[in-house]
């Protein structure tokens, strides 16, 4: 281990292995709480359950935590289609679990590189309408 390059290599390897685990919890939680309706790839179900990839998702980014925790009762307009089915709430999810779900959806399912923090989620949850 005399060569400084070997340290750099070790650091790089450990960083890259962490990378693989980044969305693990989010993936697992999505599988348990979201996938039955929104499907594994986030595509939803016809005109019954909306896809994640949508104008609605983008325009309500600051509401995502509230929607995940409290669900939706009213009809919503998504990609020019009305969806009337109620979205059930997920009251038992902790704030950090919501962070992980949002980051999994954004980065893996929607391939939209962005990072939501615990602080963001806390702020959203303080201002929910529910």
């Amino acid at each position: 281990m005399k060569h400084p390059a070997s340290y750099i290599i070790i650091i790089l390897i450990s960083l890259s292995s962490c990378e693989l685990d980044t969305y693990k919890q989010g993936e697992r939680l999505y599988g348990v709480h979201c996938e039955s309706c929104h499907m594994k790839d986030g595509s939803g179900l016809a005109k019954l359950i909306p896809p994640l990839e949508s104008d609605y998702y983008k325009n309500n980014r600051d509401q995502l935590s509230c929607i995940i925790r409290y669900g939706l009762k009213d009809s919503i307009l998504v990609n020019d289609e009305w969806y009337e089915q109620e979205m059930p709430r997920n009251k038992d999810l902790s704030e950090i679990e919501i962070v992980n779900i949002i980051n999994y959806m954004d980065n893996v399912l929607l391939k939209d590189e962005r990072f939501t923090t615990l602080k963001d989620v806390k702020a959203q949850l303080e201002n929910c309408d529910n």
Binding site: S36, C37, L45, L48, E86
Partner: protein
């Protein structure tokens, strides 16, 4: 050189032992003795309304093979996944007049005919091909589900109030169960599509 012979032998062995594609579908369920004759399990007579308030019974289905599942509209657990797979089946056979799809609701109280109609429309179903059937008495539906080897019962602790399995079943024109898939698993349904093709072939080759 010897090494190669071993490999060839192993490959040949694997090839000969590989599963052969089945050419006919089995009859699923326990055989019964009726008047001294062994008969295959059969879906008993039923009569229900579809989403257009049309009466559908086993006689109206006698010219078709059909694919069946059990669900309820407010189901938050497995139903949407099963419906996604039913949509796949629907799309593949959209132009085949020999096949129908049937989705039985387990929740007649909440799933009225009108609501089923709206649901079917939202799913993009062809109303003449894909029937959403409802019966007033849910016990009749639970019993019928048993005949399809689908477990279904009311359970206040289950998500949405009903517990049931997500099987999709293939029924021939005589009412026998010939194949099934786990409706929550895409791969299981991929194999099931092959079984549907096999049954369609069998039907087209059977006179009358």
């Amino acid at each position: 050189m010897n090494k190669y012979i071993y490999w060839i032998a192993i490959l040949g062995f694997l090839y000969s032992c590989g599963p052969e594609a089945p050419t006919t579908l089995p009859y699923i369920g326990k055989k019964k003795m009726v008047d001294g004759v062994e008969v295959n399990h059969k879906i008993p007579a039923f009569e229900m309304l579809n989403q257009d308030s049309m009466v559908i019974n086993n006689e109206s289905l006698s010219d078709y093979i059909y694919v069946a599942d059990f669900f309820f509209m407010s189901c938050p657990s497995i139903c949407p996944k099963v419906k996604k797979q039913m949509m796949r089946i629907n799309e593949k056979y959209a132009d085949n007049p020999k096949i129908k799809l049937i989705s039985h609701t387990l929740d007649p109280k909440r799933d009225s005919v009108d609501r089923l109609k709206q649901y079917a429309t939202n799913l993009g179903a062809d109303h003449d091909k894909w029937y959403f059937l409802r019966h007033e008495d849910k016990d009749v539906i639970f019993e019928l589900a048993n005949e399809y080897f689908v477990v279904a019962y009311e359970d206040p602790d289950a998500p949405g109030g009903f517990d049931h399995s997500g099987k999709i079943l293939l029924i021939d024109q005589k009412g026998h169960v010939r194949s099934f898939a786990e409706g929550t698993e895409e791969e299981s349904v991929t194999k099931f599509l092959d079984d549907i093709d096999l049954l369609l072939k069998e039907v087209s080759e059977t006179p009358g």
